[in-house]
Symmetry: C2
Subunit: 586 residues, 2 copies
């Protein structure tokens, strides 16, 4: 027998069969009804108002929710409601999925909130003498799971906790299959996670409300490992075959993270015990060093990592001072130096699902390039060196207050500093602008030679560019250029066939695209096809945090992605040498 | 196109299609070819000799195995061999599954060796520059698994181990999904596990070769918790609401176990690092106390346990001094006091698969009774008290040297002591014999009253039975009798319908069935239908150890088994009072 579901709030009418689950029909109709408990009647998010039609008596959970939300008595959970008649409903705004924007510039990327750690407030039945279920069984039955894992420590406390709160408890569940903790009474609202991006130079973190996907606070700091070398290669050399030095680097970054977390939690007034999940993104060297895994295999050809997809880790394993039963997810490495920062960037930009041909470029110390052609993803990396981060440059500096981040030449040279502070040095985008201007003025020859007696070009006050600085930039550009050229050639593509280039990395919107093309860093294509997506690695960390399914998605991608080792190609040297000339753009 | 497989060794001829896997055809023909790696070409056990027919070149693993075993060049792994022609083979005896007898008395129970922990010796490919797989990926691909878990500690060493042994390594795999360890070179032969039965009174353990299922050594000791009470109830009372006392009991049993293990490993010259798996059986109170879990919920009605099926545990969690990456499996509790010793007994006796109607009775301090009717399993428990273990009896003792374990009356009383030592006391089976004899002689009345002025019956030297002792035995019998009566009545069954009774527990073959019937402990049925199966709990521990599938089997059974709470039935008191008369047999 066929019935009609009228959804007044969405002006839709659906046809349904007797016994159909209301939630299924609503979702099939393309309405993003919120359900995060696999339709088990646990999360209480899919409440709809039954305006007209057969109204079964409310179950315990529905009674509780209507009372809590001050709703009238005709609200029911769509995941517990079976069609038995024509029915007229209204879906309140609150029951619609909140999507979260994880990339805020260049490209819109939307993620539905479905975190790995969920909290469900439950009124559990007490065991009965006629069938004295075990405490674990009582929980499993209510959660509609057959067999759950639980930390051993929790098993020791489970009876005490349940007795104390009289079986009125919030269960903390990980990936629907592990019971992480029990908290007395209703603590559903207190569910937080941390997204951490460990960059070679800077570390960024966000604290996120896992119920809403909303970022509550952010923090940025320098990677304290920097004193042992500005780039990935020097850190690896430092830790090579010396566990003590490896552990020193590990402890430095963990110390940085713990003090950042500590400070941020205090600022946002969030208790460490309410944080159960951490996601970490970073390049291959950074995630190995953070974990304390040997980087010896990354030091020598074939430069292989210890892991791609990491086994599950607990926050205790890694010394994080959050809830002791907390979990840590580390973004998978693709291959070799194409690491978890790139897999995170891919998931944040949703590159695999774009129609067309795209390049994803991370302009960091290591330049990683991913080509998405009609069918596949292909990745490579190229050692650009830290010039774009202002390192190894006489007057170079990070993009911090006082850095020259932009330069123009009208009648005379005009420079811009971050926060308008007196100029202290030049950061990556400033270097690109200056080299482009000096090239045009002929002060730097296309081959990169300074046409100046002093072998120094003064920019302002004590700030200058040396012949060596220009060489550093030249090499960095050549590395990227060669990577782009070879990955396109591999698939017989020309730059004209590209539907877009996504630029990830610290440059952000400050990069002058025209100047980047002039010095040959970017291929000369329509400027509108170039998008800066900022710190896509951090956006990926946030995506993994608020969307557990995104983890499975990226792991499947990582296993399928093709990797090209540029350095092992005989044509690499030839291409690289040719690319060194600034004028030799793509 | 149809071909014929001639199996000369088994005088069989099978028909096969082109491309059929040889292993599948052999198994379908009912030949127990040994394969323990899910046909992935890893375990090397399914080698067969290709006597005639198309012989493809051997793969690396086959070359290695033929060399190692000194076989001629025409042996191939049946799991890698696809039929392409008529083929004539011989299956060597070595490639046939060795079944293991886990119960040695009363009832034959056979288990195929398929342990949770397996070792595979592998020659791994080294990573290549053109596609630098991560070390985890290299392992996963070779093991044909997509995504494996691994202990964090192993991740820290994985590179070092592989480098040191030049990728010639034995992988230790748990349940096909977790990498437990890597051991340099071939250590396949060194794979051991421990089966532990924690009884209220005695603790028994076996060390088992996980490749063959063979028991290498055994050890028995008293449960050192006994000083805090002879039975389950007194231990629970001791630990009730006092974590310090709970941990004291926990540490006592763990101490006992660790020193037993230590001694047994030394005797058998097995390194602790070669032991990766432990299975533990015991009643509900014993497994809670061993784990250090609160017994508070077991102290009061409704007597519910913390767990039925326990989450996975590591040997480190429990302080076992075996390989630090080792695992511990605890037999699931059924409900309330029907614990892991009974689920272990059910799996060892394979009760669920028997055709007909059976009773399984564990005659211990707690009497557990399981009825298998045509379709279901129904369990109950009844507090028999420790009389059958010689406790709370004036001259009672455990079945140890010097215990009167048997008595007969021809012309005069003849007593037998264990190991023929001078009589020190009376154990359970001796008590049953003596009470039966004294009943027959009229020295004890059917109501249990001693017809003796001194209220004491002298047995030998200083050994006697008091009125109180007889009352203890009476109550113990009545508890068991009531349990049996009520569980049969529940399903409208009579004792005549029983196809058999399995008696588990320490009594072993010493119990005189006729006497047990005389005092009303056992229902009067054909003696040939009664089987003593000895320590079925330990046999179950061994079953779980050598057969990972048996764990899944019992967990499914435990979730379905029906539980009857005798004490909550109004008819219980009435039945119990009636059963107190010795003469009131079933």
């Amino acid at each position: 027998m066929s019935y009609t579901i009228h959804i007044d709030s969405h002006r839709k009418a659906l046809s349904a069969q007797k016994g159909d689950l209301l939630v299924d029909k609503i979702l099939q109709a393309g309405i993003n009804l919120s359900v995060t408990c696999d339709k088990k009647g646990l999360c209480g998010k899919c409440l709809v108002e039954i305006v007209d039609g057969n109204l079964p008596p409310p179950n315990e959970q529905e009674k509780y929710l209507m009372k809590q939300k001050n709703y009238p008595q005709n609200f029911r959970l769509a995941c517990s409601f079976r069609v038995a008649d024509d029915v007229r409903i209204k879906i309140p705004e609150e029951s619609i999925t909140k999507d979260v924007l994880v990339l805020t510039s260049g490209l819109q990327s939307i993620v539905s909130v479905d975190p790995a750690v969920k909290k469900f407030h439950l009124q559990l039945p007490r065991p009965e003498i006629s069938s004295p279920l075990s405490l674990m069984e009582i929980l499993e039955r209510r959660l509609k799971e057959k067999r759950m894992q639980a930390p051993f420590g929790l098993l020791m406390d489970i009876g005490k906790i349940l007795e104390k709160c009289r079986f009125d408890v919030t269960v903390v569940v990980y990936k629907d299959k592990e019971l992480l903790n029990l908290e007395p009474r209703d603590t559903q609202a207190l569910n937080y996670g941390l997204a951490i991006d460990i960059g070679t130079t800077t570390v960024a973190l966000e604290i996120v409300n896992l119920n809403t996907g909303e970022t509550i606070g952010t923090s940025v700091a320098l990677n304290s490992q920097s004193i042992h070398g500005a780039d990935v290669v020097s850190r690896i050399s430092y830790a090579y075959q010396d566990p003590n030095k490896l552990y020193k680097l590990r402890d430095e970054i963990r110390g940085t993270l713990n003090s950042m977390i500590n400070k941020l939690l205090k600022e946002t007034k969030i208790a460490p015990s309410n944080v159960y999940d951490i996601t970490v993104t970073g390049n291959t060297a950074m995630n190995h060093l953070f974990l304390g895994l040997s980087v010896d295999t990354l030091a020598l050809a074939p430069f292989n990592s210890v892991f791609d997809c990491l086994p599950e880790l607990s926050s205790r394993d890694l010394g994080f001072r959050i809830n002791p039963y907390g979990k840590v997810y580390v973004a998978p490495n693709i291959k070799s130096f194409v690491g978890g920062d790139i897999s995170a960037g891919l998931v944040a930009s949703d590159l695999a699902n774009k129609k067309g041909i795209y390049l994803f470029i991370d302009l960091g110390t290591n330049g990683e390039i991913v080509l998405k052609n009609e069918k596949d993803l292909i990745a490579t990396s190229t050692a650009a060196g830290p010039a774009f981060e202002g390192m190894n440059i006489s007057c170079g500096m990070l993009a911090q207050p006082g850095a020259i981040y932009k330069a123009e030449y009208g009648k005379k040279l005009k420079i811009y500093t971050l926060r308008n502070r007196p100029a202290l040095g030049i950061c990556g985008t400033g270097l690109i602008d200056l080299v482009a201007i000096l090239l045009e003025q002929g002060k730097i020859s296309p081959s990169g030679k300074l046409n100046d007696r002093e072998q120094k070009i003064h920019i302002k006050d004590n700030i200058f560019l040396s012949q060596n600085d220009v060489r550093e930039i030249q090499l960095a550009c050549a590395a990227i250029k060669t990577g782009i050229k070879m990955i396109l050639e591999e698939y017989h593509l020309t730059k004209e066939q590209l539907d877009g280039i996504y630029i990830a990395g610290a440059f952000g919107n400050y990069l002058n695209i025209e100047n980047a093309m002039k010095i040959g860093l970017l291929p000369r294509i329509d400027e509108n096809k170039i998008f800066f997506i900022g710190n896509a690695s951090l956006a990926g960390a946030k995506t993994f945090l608020i969307s557990a399914p995104s983890r499975k998605v990226i792991e499947a991608i990582v296993k399928k992605i093709r990797f090209i080792s540029l350095a092992s190609r005989p044509s690499f040297q030839q291409n690289f040498v040719e690319a060194i000339e600034f004028s030799q753009g793509l």
